[in-house]
């Protein structure tokens, strides 16, 4: 936990060091938000049935997805587990990670979590505020929905982190992970509800998506935010998210134990 706080602090300091970069990110997210807003407005004008939701809700959903993507976007951060692990494996520095008295998964969770928390506070918050003021972003329907959204967002991060960590474990099997990463990003984009909310997919696809963890990353928190789900369903989806987070973290831990044992026997 303290490591996490230190990492948050580190990120804040480096944002201060690279101020233009930081401002560009906020600007970029505003432009991207404006873009998705125009897109859905145009679609809605053609045929409201395509969208399947009131326009303001849909716009809110899409813009918030853009904002969340700033902190979740996998290749953006050097602390993202798959990026860090592939770098350490490629350079042979993975040895040095074994010298720490803290487990690699925990190290990375603290560091990546610090970076994400920074992104949430200093990038998403301003972008959200600006879009509420100028782009017609709605507020959540109730305080409960707002709180549930925040909680769900944390769980989203944990799920995404553990999937990324699992992807990082692949580095130990094949040193080249670019192609796998590309496939993975594609799957995330399509199945997480980041671009297209699940209710717009045909039914068989919705059935598939429902049994996969990806939708928990974007769709779950965003649906909560726009009030598309009732109180009881909110609780259910939070439990589902927590279950996925737990399972995937555990799976990552088990894989890491295996990898670690192999490293300790065979050398880096």
């Amino acid at each position: 936990m303290k490591i996490f706080a230190k990492c948050l602090h580190t990120e804040r300091r480096s944002a201060g060091l690279y101020r233009t970069d930081f401002l560009l990110k906020v600007l970029y997210s505003m432009i991207a938000m404006y873009g998705v807003r125009s897109l859905w407005t145009a679609l809605y004008a053609q045929d409201p049935a395509i969208v399947g939701r009131p326009l303001p809700s849909m716009i809110t959903y899409a813009m918030l997805a853009v904002a969340l993507d700033i902190i979740f976007y996998p290749s953006a951060l050097s602390t993202a587990p798959q990026n860090y692990i592939s770098q350490q494996v490629r350079t042979g520095r993975i040895d040095t990670d074994l010298l720490r008295p803290v487990d690699l998964q925990q190290q990375l969770l603290a560091r990546n979590g610090g970076a994400a928390a920074f992104g949430a506070l200093w990038l998403v918050m301003p972008a959200w505020l600006l879009s509420v003021l100028f782009l017609g972003m709605e507020l959540p329907p109730s305080l409960f929905h707002g709180a549930a959204f925040l909680f769900s967002g944390v769980l989203s991060f944990l799920i995404l982190f553990s999937l990324n960590f699992l992807l990082g474990m692949v580095c130990f099997v094949t040193t080249e992970i670019r192609q796998i990463t590309m496939a993975y990003s594609g799957i995330l984009t399509i199945l997480s509800g980041k671009l297209i909310p699940n209710w717009l997919y045909p039914e068989w696809m919705q059935a598939l998506i429902n049994v996969l963890p990806f939708r928990c990353i974007f769709e779950t928190p965003l649906s909560i935010y726009i009030g598309a789900v009732g109180n009881y369903e909110i609780l259910c989806s939070l439990v589902l998210q927590a279950a996925w987070a737990g399972i995937l973290l555990l799976l990552g831990k088990i894989m890491w134990l295996g990898v670690h044992r192999r490293l300790a026997v065979q050398g880096g």
Binding site: K6, T10, R13, S78, D95, T96
Partner: protein
């Protein structure tokens, strides 16, 4: 205290297979070649000693250091460092040692040095007062001031090794393992590193095991050397004894080392 008894490490190296379906064969039933990196060594190093560990490239020095650090599991034999078995009591062991690899940094590549130190502080649970005191002392002795705010990837080799040394000592380890800390460092910077390591050994009583190819390092820093060749110990004793045995009192150390390596090459 460090004790090593009949310590061995054999690496398995996957052997490329020939003939048809070579790739398939190597997947289904991989064949291995064995390489004895450390082949039955014994030594004891007492608390507060500073020992040089020398030998040709590939002699098994880094492999020994990795086993002493607990990141590599021995194939056979016993290791004990400060009463612990490194690969078994990993976490506790790691809190009591510092390790520097001259060839690769153990600091986070994209993170400013001071932030790396701060994150390590939490990992090793160093209290504030001790951290501040150590930081002040190391900044002074190693002249870290000018580059504390820079990320490691921007540092020169000499600066990087100094940062790594400070990081390895922040948690006041009892034992320090240095694997070629002076490699590639310029003469002046080397001089400063030597003074620092000597001071740490003398003033703080830190036990130091150090590998090097630099004969000046040996002459200036250590009283005792262990010479290893092809995984076996050729000589373990004082620098004085080394001179007497291999060339007389005023013989050049460089000549002596060359002589030993040649001799070892014959017997190996």
């Amino acid at each position: 205290m460090i004790t090593v008894k009949n310590l061995r490490k054999t690496y398995k190296i996957a052997k490329p297979q020939e003939g048809r379906f070579a790739t398939l064969k190597s997947l289904v039933r991989p064949r291995y070649e064995e390489r004895r990196a450390v082949d039955g060594i014994d030594f004891t190093i007492n608390d507060g000693e500073m020992v040089g560990y020398i030998g040709q490239n590939g002699a098994g020095k880094s492999t020994t250091i990795k086993m002493l650090s607990g990141i590599l599991v021995p194939t056979a034999g016993e290791v004990s460092v400060n009463g612990l078995t490194p690969h078994k009591d990993r976490r506790e062991h790691l809190r009591g040692i510092g390790v520097v690899f001259g060839q690769k940094t153990s600091l986070w590549w994209d993170v400013p040095v001071i932030d790396s130190l701060n994150i390590l502080k939490e990992m090793y649970r160093v209290d504030d007062a001790r951290f501040r005191k150590n930081l002040e002392m190391f900044t002074d002795l190693l002249d870290l001031g000018p580059f504390l705010e820079q990320p490691v990837r921007q540092l020169s080799l000499g600066q990087r090794v100094r940062a790594d040394l400070a990081a390895a000592l922040m948690h006041d380890p009892k034992t320090l393992f240095l694997d070629e800390p002076t490699i590639g460092v310029d003469v002046i910077a080397k001089e400063r590193l030597r003074e620092f390591i000597t001071e740490i050994n003398r003033e703080r009583g830190v036990t130091v095991l150090l590998t090097t190819h630099d004969v000046v390092d040996m002459e200036k820093m250590v009283k005792r050397v262990i010479v290893i060749n092809a995984g076996q110990i050729l000589y373990d004793g004082s620098m004085l004894g080394l001179r007497e045995r291999y060339g007389g009192e005023d013989a050049d150390i460089e000549d002596i080392v060359r002589e030993i390596y040649r001799e070892g090459g014959k017997t190996a």
